[in-house]
Subunit: 333 residues, 4 copies
Amino acid sequence: MRFFSDNAAAAHPAVLSALSAANTLDTAYDGDVLSRRLGGAFSDLFGTQVRALWISTGTAANCLALASLCPPFGGVICHSEAHINVDECGAPEFFTLGAKLLLADGPGAKLTPAAVEQVAAGIRNDVHQVQPRVLSITNATEYGLVYTPDEVAALGDVAKRRGLGFHMDGARFANAVAHLGCAPAELTWRAGLDALSFGFVKNGGLSAEALIFFRPELAEETFYRRKRAGHLFSKGRYLAAQLLAMLEGDLWLDNARAANHGAALLAKAAGDRLVYPVQANEVFLRVTAEEAARLRALGFDFYDWGPGEARLVVSWDQDEAAIRPLADAIAAL
Amino acid sequence: MRFFSDNAAAAHPAVLSALSAANTLDTAYDGDVLSRRLGGAFSDLFGTQVRALWISTGTAANCLALASLCPPFGGVICHSEAHINVDECGAPEFFTLGAKLLLADGPGAKLTPAAVEQVAAGIRNDVHQVQPRVLSITNATEYGLVYTPDEVAALGDVAKRRGLGFHMDGARFANAVAHLGCAPAELTWRAGLDALSFGFVKNGGLSAEALIFFRPELAEETFYRRKRAGHLFSKGRYLAAQLLAMLEGDLWLDNARAANHGAALLAKAAGDRLVYPVQANEVFLRVTAEEAARLRALGFDFYDWGPGEARLVVSWDQDEAAIRPLADAIAAL
Amino acid sequence: MRFFSDNAAAAHPAVLSALSAANTLDTAYDGDVLSRRLGGAFSDLFGTQVRALWISTGTAANCLALASLCPPFGGVICHSEAHINVDECGAPEFFTLGAKLLLADGPGAKLTPAAVEQVAAGIRNDVHQVQPRVLSITNATEYGLVYTPDEVAALGDVAKRRGLGFHMDGARFANAVAHLGCAPAELTWRAGLDALSFGFVKNGGLSAEALIFFRPELAEETFYRRKRAGHLFSKGRYLAAQLLAMLEGDLWLDNARAANHGAALLAKAAGDRLVYPVQANEVFLRVTAEEAARLRALGFDFYDWGPGEARLVVSWDQDEAAIRPLADAIAAL
Amino acid sequence: MRFFSDNAAAAHPAVLSALSAANTLDTAYDGDVLSRRLGGAFSDLFGTQVRALWISTGTAANCLALASLCPPFGGVICHSEAHINVDECGAPEFFTLGAKLLLADGPGAKLTPAAVEQVAAGIRNDVHQVQPRVLSITNATEYGLVYTPDEVAALGDVAKRRGLGFHMDGARFANAVAHLGCAPAELTWRAGLDALSFGFVKNGGLSAEALIFFRPELAEETFYRRKRAGHLFSKGRYLAAQLLAMLEGDLWLDNARAANHGAALLAKAAGDRLVYPVQANEVFLRVTAEEAARLRALGFDFYDWGPGEARLVVSWDQDEAAIRPLADAIAAL
């Protein structure tokens, strides 16, 4: 049974159906009716005028966002354990053409205004040092912690005061919203966000993420950057179709709720073994090597997260019946 | 009726079926069984050991190939009308991080050894000028002309003699092979080719092209470049599935033959109006503005290619019945 | 006797004296009194408020200017024979991080509004093509032709109308001004120029060029780019000293006049052999290989400029006595 | 009295004399007799065949070396307080076109094999993480500590075992050699070094550093990179002249000994106030804000290095008479 990554989950049937439905003649690239519908659909969702681009991977969405906010000679303040720092093989440096990640720390890969200020304050305001230009956070974080609207807004204030662009890696944005039960607007533009990588692939999608610009003018040059990075699909309508299918009837939210719910079940079973509170669909567990082996022997697959820790990720398609055996096994350790 | 681009055609049903079939649990990224099957499948097709990577767009496939062959301070000899020069928004410069396209000329966007030599000979061998490092050709060319194996081999000889890597943009490689009736090996590695962007999207695919390395060691660093460019899909198995479906039973060749056949019908109807001989699935036609308008009034959609010329592209899914009305309309002009 | 390049000439004694005079304690980088004096000195010269940075090479000055005006995904319209295209080993692509040179043509490496418009008009306004963002000209051109203030202004109008930044490679700007007898302002900002690479090294300098921004805000990020490119000298005061020495008593203009005068003497001797009218310090001569050999046998050194042409460059330190023997030898051919 | 930076010191008279001596006709760029003499001169000094390029700044020398050793998708292991990380405004990222600095720690900005191994071991060997390709150290370090030949060799072993290129930022290499009294070979190629940025500017030079390649083949593409970065001077002979003047009669070593000697005098006066042992020409002192103010009131100029610390740097031209007043003032605090 698979708990090693939500990337390994299947696509939701509605997404596949949408591909079939899109399989009719249309204009190439993003001139089709589906692609052109995205701006409106996401503007409705966020309650403000946004620009929405389909992007095929989260890495590309993150890094196109960063490139739109950060010049090659600038810096991006982010957590040292942020996906953009440790799991994208230098994609931010590639897309921005040489910007520098300026690393902050804090438990659970979560940033605070104080942590951001500390990094910024440590940089001399002269030409010998890379000056910060962007603040990037991940919500939910790489450890499944969720920033509340107030926490995002507090960081947005820092960004504004320091003249930084503000980006959110929302690979699990849906899980954060599902956890909080808030309006997407509260967690984004109302909190000062400029750009959001809105993830769908981990949440039942197939090959389409959305890059949302709350400052629409940022989209203009991103269209060129997207093409230039080989991310403008000639049959882009199939990407748009996926996103529209996920928005339809709030499928994205349903999927995230299901995954969060499974993780909550595991959390309950885990009790004191939890490394972090479980707020999204990831569970970090303290286990000995022997215990980990025991779980694996029972057929559970997961990621060893450093010595003595295991990462379990619940996907949209794992219902209680799928979760129960692992929950029981954890409780029985 | 659509003749403006093969990008606008639908995906073949077998491709969509393959997506559904792939929609089961598997490893993330390219560790899945389908992705791992690609090397073998393409090695069989080419009759030699190759490395095959799925890439989601032709632009990315082309430019990852160029980046593997050309250092940032090098140059790529290509035709001035090559797709990489005029239709990829500087993607080659982005992926190679600043290499320079060194432009050669020739009718129908087709290069000859003499044209390549002329460019190379015009470059002083000193540090003030960008030195050529790669030769890149498109087969079939942007005007639908096909290089024969002998023609490719002659260019391969130039490349070898001058120490240049040799790349083929094969967005319509299938159409070239279908036209020639030769083995894929003849047109590629036996003719000295190092890397091929093997296009499927224009030929009934959805979102997967293959990047084929005939010098397998070139693939090693390309895996990093692919990730870094945001082109490593977390659900890469769906891309692999598409390619395998296209190879299955030579679907790629059937589709290309169908498109070429349709173009041949149009060519016959066009007679003296042809700007170039029709060898693949593109037809360039001499028409007055008035004639073009007349065709459009009849419901035919196509691309104006400079003053007095129209480009008609036939897709894999257009059978004789779909072609006949346009052929008749052209004959009746 | 040396006529192959003004780069090979000695530095003017005043420049060396200035180095010695600067050889006293001062602040590092560009915080010294000499560096801080540059803005005022050049503002006086141009009759408007400018920002002036010392830069050690013309290539760096040109390319920092281009980088300040052109995003990585943009294009620079320039002549196909411009120094930035053929003699800087891709430095524009490196400094701009991948911008594309969009090449125009015209005799003597001189651009006209029509030539610029032709390039611009040939670019589709869509994301598939690199959009022009900058116009760059060389004055005097690589063939020693001089743009008049009116000619520059006409190009400035095109730039303005099309929203392009406007840069002048002034490696031989001094020779152009000396030829025209105009105010530097007429040839630059009054004609719409945004940035000028003002060359001194070919004109009796040693290792300092000036990068002049007529839109001072462009200088701000260039300070970072300069540092990042390794062009911020820790002992920058020695570069500032050179520039101030060249401005002192209009030494730059005297030197350029001397070189132009020598070239005029050669031109007179050359008569019908001239390929271009001689307006600056370069003389392009029609000579057979045998004639070239004869001149060399007499001890004259120069550059073969393609078959049947020789390039003779006069330097600031060659007076009539130094020129006369070559003039006589040419006349006697 | 100036103790804030050795960058602020004057150039040695022999360097200025060399400029005057070089001020005669010669070939442009690096084709002159002086530039061509560098390889031999440095090969003699290092007792092995090296390639030596003049480079005008330490930042450029460092970053050209890194670019020759590290692909754009690779990583450079260095100390978190290394000059390349904190004081070059992202120049490594610019020259390498996006490589990532992988930061290790240790007191006094000095790396140990264990610290390097820890960084390397923390990187998963997969495409999601930037793989280390280079190890870069600074000798003497940014805090004036000196690696011995054995220490360098131990790091060289790590580099070799892990397949890393090995670079030394030798902005104060002369001070390290002067301190150790060893042969330059011991501290470099015999210890496994591939490339050395050999600093002269802080040591009585004016505008020339040497980039030394112990693997000569690395120089080949660096010639292109140097030109492309605008660092090929048209009058390069003046840079070569500076380096040759510094090598002549071991002037570089005399200058470094003088500076080290002055620092030793200050160290003796400082006693327990020393933050680090003084091995080169830098002295880090514990002082209260009030004490620092008192020293400044006496006319001593220096750098505040974080709270409670002052950095004093002695230059080649400060003899005992110049040092004594500060030594006395420190002793009297």
